[in-house]
């Protein structure tokens, strides 16, 4: 690799470099400040914001970094800088900013304020892993980024060490994660054995050749799906989700449920679209190379995921655990949109992700505020809360209604685009299953509202007052949820400009 091409590569990964610099700064500042570490979260926000600005400024450019493979006419790198990656990077960075704001007000994190330097450094590690993951087009780089993401999140899941559940969550997360990433590595090695390359673009051109053993490839793809499925918590790789979400600090739970899921979906979109699509038709539908039936696999996963997620959520009494199952169900809807294997499907995934991030973060934040004051996440302890603390009550109504997908909230628009994409692909049966699932989800979301408004406050109900800062953060999530339910055109236009994948 000569110096000019290295220079070009470094220019394309500027956001990642800035993020790494801020990671080092956070560690150094943590070393210099002995006891008063209040400045570190603000420094973390600054780092994410600067990186975000750099990502925005380079959103419409594209190119390969670290050229490692080439065919007779084209050169391919390990790292693709393109609008799809840019979209997911922006999403991940904005979610990270919100999570840092959450931690500033979280009492769980306040109790460990002496170790908060490590907390934010690990968060930076996670973000770095995710940002590389959404742009990686080489199986080795994908694996390395996935490990960076996973290792940081294992530690964060058990970081506060305040309760036994905390350590349980970290241990369970790690054991499941290590097994699934091991399976994924095995799958990658089989793909390498079949094709002799780890670059997705070259794999695509080799799969179009005649001499691929379909059965072996099927095995390899299923193994790789184990790794991806673990990240997006798709059934049957979801077992860790409820326990980890319940045990981890709420801020990290919210983070895992949105950001690392987004990274997993970006990876899935990239692997399918670059590795297994021969050409994109003029009507927006992808023509698969006839070696592996992605459509069947994704439809199967999606139906299993949303049905199991919704049915299990019905029985939960812990709100955090219920939201964990609901996030599994939402992953099911998202996989369904992807299963259409069309450009409309990807647009629907991106739109849904923006809205899902808003409403899920908001819901987790309210759970956090209430748990900070009352020390409980049980739905029974929400009795009459709508009257004693009306601001939180109304916000939670809006967010939960949005999670169900009812108008006039953003969740409705997300589901609308999703179902349009599914019906466009003429997948009527699954569409009906998805609608039935939404009806099921109505019950458990509204059960919370029933406890808050239709049950009399018992003597044990405490009044919960949100502080001014908390109200502002919450409004930043709730107001867009309402606003985008009515005026959503800019979001749709923005996502449509962001679906270009480099070299497809």
């Amino acid at each position: 690799m000569d110096l000019t091409s290295l220079n070009n590569s470094l220019r394309l990964i500027t956001p990642e470099i800035i993020l790494s610099i801020f990671l080092v700064i956070v560690v150094v500042v943590d070393l210099i400040l002995k006891s008063n570490k209040k400045v570190i979260p603000y420094l973390a926000v600054l780092g994410f914001a600067v990186t975000g600005i750099v990502v925005i400024s380079s959103l419409d450019s594209s190119g390969f970094a670290f050229i490692t493979a080439s065919t007779s006419s084209k050169q391919f790198g390990m790292f693709a800088h393109d609008p799809l990656g840019g979209f997911f990077k922006l999403l991940i960075l904005s979610v990270s900013i919100f999570i840092v704001l959450f931690t500033i007000t979280s009492s769980e994190i306040k109790q460990i304020h002496l170790r908060s330097g490590e907390f934010y450094a690990l968060m930076y590690g996670m973000v770095l892993g995710m940002m590389v993951l959404v742009s990686a087009v080489d199986l080795i780089l994908i694996y390395v980024a996935l490990e960076l993401l996973s290792l940081s999140s294992y530690v964060l899941a058990g970081f506060t060490k305040l309760r036994d559940r905390n350590s349980e969550a970290a241990l369970k997360y790690m054991i499941y994660g290590v097994v699934s990433s091991g399976l994924m590595l095995f799958g990658i090695s089989i793909v390498y054995g079949l094709t002799g390359t780890t670059n997705l673009y070259l794999i695509n051109s080799l799969l179009q050749g005649p001499q691929i053993n379909i059965l072996t490839l099927l095995f390899a793809v299923l193994l790789i799906m184990a790794g991806v499925g673990f990240k997006i918590s798709a059934v049957p790789f979801h077992f860790w989700t409820p326990d980890v979400y319940e045990g981890a600090p709420i801020t990290i739970t919210a983070y895992l449920s949105v950001a690392s899921k987004a990274a997993g979906f970006a990876l899935l979109i990239r692997v399918i679209q670059i590795g297994f699509v021969s050409f994109v038709g003029s009507d927006g539908f992808w023509n698969l190379i006839p070696v592996f039936d992605w459509k069947a696999l994704l439809v199967l996963l999606s139906v299993l995921t949303m049905t199991l997620g919704n049915l299990s959520a019905l029985w939960q009494n812990n709100l955090k655990r219920m939201l964990a199952y609901s996030s599994i169900a939402h992953a099911g809807y998202l996989i369904l949109a992807l299963a259409t294997l069309s450009t409309q499907g990807v647009v629907a995934v991106l739109i849904y992700f923006i809205f899902y991030a808003l409403m899920n973060l908001g819901a987790f934040y309210i759970v956090m505020i209430i748990a900070d004051r009352t020390g409980s996440e049980d739905i029974d302890d929400y009795d009459g809360l709508g009257y004693t603390s009306s601001f939180l009550g109304v916000s939670l109504i809006i967010l939960l209604v949005s999670l169900v997908g009812l108008p006039p909230t953003a969740g409705f628009i997300g589901k609308l685009y999703l179902f349009i994409a599914v019906l466009d692909a003429e997948m009527y049966v699954v569409a009906v299953i998805a609608v039935l699932n939404t009806v099921v989800s109505l019950y458990y979301y509204l059960r919370v509202l029933k406890h808050m408004y239709l049950t009399k406050a018992s003597d044990s109900t405490q009044s919960v007052r949100a502080s001014g800062g908390e109200k502002i953060i919450l409004l930043l999530l709730v107001v867009p949820t309402l606003l985008f339910g009515i005026y959503f055109q800019p979001i749709v236009d923005f996502t449509k400009s962001c679906i270009t994948v480099l070299g497809v």
Partner: protein, 153 residues
Amino acid sequence: MLTEFGKIFVFILLAVAFVGIAIFAAKLIRPHRPTQEKLTTYECGENPEGTPWVQFNIRFYVVALIFLIFDVEVVLLFPWALTYQDYGLYGFLAGIIFLVVLGIGMAYEWQKGDLEWARPKPNIPYLSNLIKKNTDQTSENIIVEQTETNQTT
């Protein structure tokens, strides 16, 4: 005709057979005169004390990690040292940044006190004593006893 994996299989068979035959041949030839000294566990030339079933100090692990990082660093610096002059200042800076980041890692370890090696009086736990003590005392005392042992080892 052997496939590529077939050759590997032959290698595995040969490796297993080689080890087995070597051990068996040695057993036939060597003299067999065990003494007390020969049968003790080798412990860096010192007389072994106590049972090896003790909790290790976590610091051994931390030191091993630090060693590993700097060990790998050297491996990565060798190729850099051979070629950095071809790339002028740019190549030089690349190596320096790498070293600075590692240096910050070292400073981090230092500042967080992982290099402090406080040496309390060694309290060598003998397994048989521990069991005897624990069965004599109430369960409350056992916990105190164990935490004391953990702190001092």
